[in-house]
């Protein structure tokens, strides 16, 4: 196990820069998830960490060794690919033992290493099968087994669950997290799915267009997103954004679309009349007599909660209630955001305004 330091890393393909100076400190044993929309550079960064892509500038170090010019096989990392990249002509055991075989390990060493990894992942009955004879989830486990056998300093996962069906994805998510808790190997995990990021990470790094938007623990990102992008990306259903102006007229409040009055706990200094974006998560709405009037458009019960789509000041918002209200489309309700939990973002830069 070791720490990983990514310092001001840039990557260009020809004249096109895809990573614009990314710095991420990763502690020993930490589970870090790189998350962001397609094309944000997260997979490229992971491949640079693995040594499959050159580093244009900046440094990456594993432990206390700068690995910019170190061959992939000498970096002591193991990677799980999105399509698993299992060798189709080798059995599960051969797939898992391939790296040991190349390293020139003795047959007994290889088989004991494979056996140990197979036991961890419950793959022992499948060792003589070929990849084609396995289900998606089993292939996924073999790919992880291949990584475990090597006993590396760092595990890299490149969207490992995106080829699985929804149910299996949830199960494997738990399995990977459990594996990490058991092995405590430093892990860098790339995904575009913010739920995966939220559920698995010690630390989430939100990337967008080749820069790091914010990093921190899942709940930090959820509770205090630094900008509108992170606020919109983390959380499902996504945060509601309403454009308007901050008003300090005695008590601070927010004037939303069509003059809707929304509560604010406090206004940032010198912000009277400042155009801003008001963010509120769906679950932070309550029904209250002093709320803003909204007209219900669609009601979607999921059993554990109910999602309500409503028009608030002409804009569509989503609210989630765990209590069972009797709502019907067309009903008028009074929605009140919890003033302690609302977010305020700069209208032009998207930066967070309230503390």
């Amino acid at each position: 196990m070791s720490s990983v330091q990514i310092r001001d890393v840039r990557k260009s393909f020809g004249n096109f820069e895809v990573l614009h100076g990314v710095s991420i400190p990763i502690e020993d044993g930490e589970f870090v998830v790189l998350v962001g929309p397609s094309g944000c550079g997260k997979s490229t960064l992971l491949r640079m960490l693995a040594g499959l892509e050159n580093i244009t500038s900046g440094t990456i170090s594993i432990g206390d060794r700068v690995v910019n010019n170190v061959q992939p096989k000498e970096r002591d990392i193991a990677m799980v690919f999105q399509n698993y990249a299992l060798y189709p002509h080798m059995t599960v055991a051969d797939n898992m033992g391939f790296s040991l075989k190349l390293r020139g390990a003795k047959p007994e060493e290889i088989s004991s290493g494979v056996k140990r990894a197979a036991e961890i992942l419950a793959l022992t009955p499948l060792l003589e099968r070929y990849p084609r004879q396995l289900s998606g989830g089993q292939r996924q486990r073999v790919a992880m087994g291949r990584a475990i056998v090597r006993d590396p300093q760092v595990f890299l996962f490149d969207e490992p669950l995106s080829n699985l069906d929804a149910k299996l994805r949830v199960a494997m998510r738990t399995e990977i997290k459990e594996l990490h808790q058991r092995l405590k190997t430093t892990t860098v995990y790339v995904t575009h799915d913010q739920i995966e990021a939220m559920t698995m990470a010690d630390k989430i790094v939100v990337m967008h267009d080749g820069i790091v938007e914010q990093m921190g623990s899942p709940l930090e990102l959820y509770d205090k997103p630094e900008n509108q992008f992170v606020a919109g990306f983390i959380g499902s259903p996504a945060m509601n954004f309403l454009k308007g102006k901050v008003k300090v007229n005695g008590a601070a409040y927010f004037e939303g679309p069509n003059g809707v009055k929304l509560p604010l706990q406090s206004a940032p200094a010198n912000s009277d009349g400042k155009p801003a974006v008001y963010g509120v998560r769906p679950e932070h709405f309550t029904i209250a007599d002093d709320g803003a009037e909204a007209e219900i458009v669609v009601v979607e019960p999921t059993g554990s909660e109910t999602q309500v789509f409503a028009k608030l000041g002409g804009e569509q918002v989503v609210a989630v209630f765990r209590e069972r209200h009797q709502f019907n489309p067309g009903d008028k309700v009074r929605l009140k955001p919890d003033p302690a939990l609302v977010h305020l973002f700069d209208d032009s830069t998207g930066k967070r305004l309230n503390s």
């Binding site: 693995a50 499959l52 193991a78 990249a85 060798y87 189709p88 002509h89 190349l102 070929y130 084609r132």
Partner: protein
């Protein structure tokens, strides 16, 4: 419900019995048969009939312009004692084995080379196909000139370099003639092997190589443990075809040497042509041709077993 059940049933309108013609028109199996007929007719007429006729002729004493009589295995008995026939068998085996082996090695090398990232890749890939596109006779004529005893460009160049003092008698010397026709065959055959293997190489997922890189494989190990095993099914197909084409080669030899000098480059196909068409002994020529069948069957059997689905190719393919 009850009154519907109790109501008198109306007689159904009478259904016409299906005639045999209706069945032929509408039955699915018959329909399948009709779709197969054109293809079957083609195969029967252009493949099965000539093959059957050739084998039949080999048991007769047919000559050009004269109906033959059945003479049993007499033609084969003649051939058994014919040293030129046995020389042609030896030549054919030598020609096929050397040319196929070199074609495989060079073709695989070219395929690996063309699979790399390099400038003008598309252009180079197209250029590799040129020997394959040029009509055989045309390229044979070109080689005939290149290997000409007086005007050979090779002899000329070597003389100017001061390496030899006399022209090499490429197509006049038995050993040189064999080398020359084999070389020409390789030149023509390599593109087929190279392009087909290249197509095979491109089906190998790039992520396998990335995984192997991380597993610590050197370039040779990647070839040995990943590329080669994944390529074996395609190698089996390509080499079967290559062997069949080479074994039955006719045009190149006929255009370059006509089997000479002293029958050193006579293949079974050219000898058969010479005996059957030039000398008019259709029966004997047909016997030489038919004698190729066991060899070709053997080659096909080898590839049949080579092509058996390997264990790793079995199972579901939901990837």
């Amino acid at each position: 419900m009850a009154d519907i059940a109790l109501a008198p049933r109306r007689a159904k309108t009478e259904i016409r019995e299906a005639t045999a013609w209706d069945q032929l028109r509408h039955n699915k199996n018959w329909l399948g048969f009709w779709f197969m007929v054109p293809a079957m007719a083609f195969l029967m007429f252009f493949l099965a009939y000539p093959l059957g006729l050739g084998i039949w002729l080999s048991f007769t004493d047919t000559r050009i312009g004269r109906v033959g009589h059945f003479i049993g295995t007499e033609n084969y008995e003649w051939l058994w004692d014919d040293s030129i026939f046995w020389l042609s068998v030896f030549n054919t085996l030598l020609y096929t084995s050397v040319a196929s082996a070199v074609k495989f090695a060079v073709g695989l090398y070219l395929a690996l080379l063309l699979n790399e990232r390099m400038p003008f890749k598309a252009l180079l890939r197209a250029a590799v196909l040129i020997p394959f596109i040029v009509p055989t006779v045309l390229s044979a004529l070109a080689f005939w000139w290149i290997f000409d005893s007086q005007f050979s460009i090779i002899s000329w160049s070597l003389k100017h370099l001061g390496l030899i003092t006399q022209n090499i008698n490429f197509l006049g010397d038995t050993t040189w003639a064999r080398i020359c026709v084999i070389f020409a065959n390789i030149w023509r055959g390599v593109p087929f092997v190279a392009i087909t293997l290249l197509a095979g190489l491109q089906t190998v997922q790039p992520s396998l190589y990335e995984a192997a890189t991380l597993d610590g494989a050197s370039r040779w190990q990647m070839f040995r443990f990943i590329t080669y095993p994944l390529l074996t099914p395609i190698i089996a197909v390509v080499m079967t075809f290559s062997v069949l084409f080479t074994f039955t080669d006719f045009q190149l030899i006929w255009a370059m040497t006509r089997g000479g000098p002293v029958n050193a480059t006579h293949l079974m196909a050219t000898l058969s042509y010479q005996r059957a068409i030039i000398a008019g002994q259709l029966g004997e020529g047909a016997a030489i041709s038919s004698a190729m069948i066991p060899f070709l069957l053997a080659a096909i059997m080898v590839s049949w077993f080579g092509l058996q689905r390997r264990k790793w190719q079995q199972g579901e393919s939901n990837d």
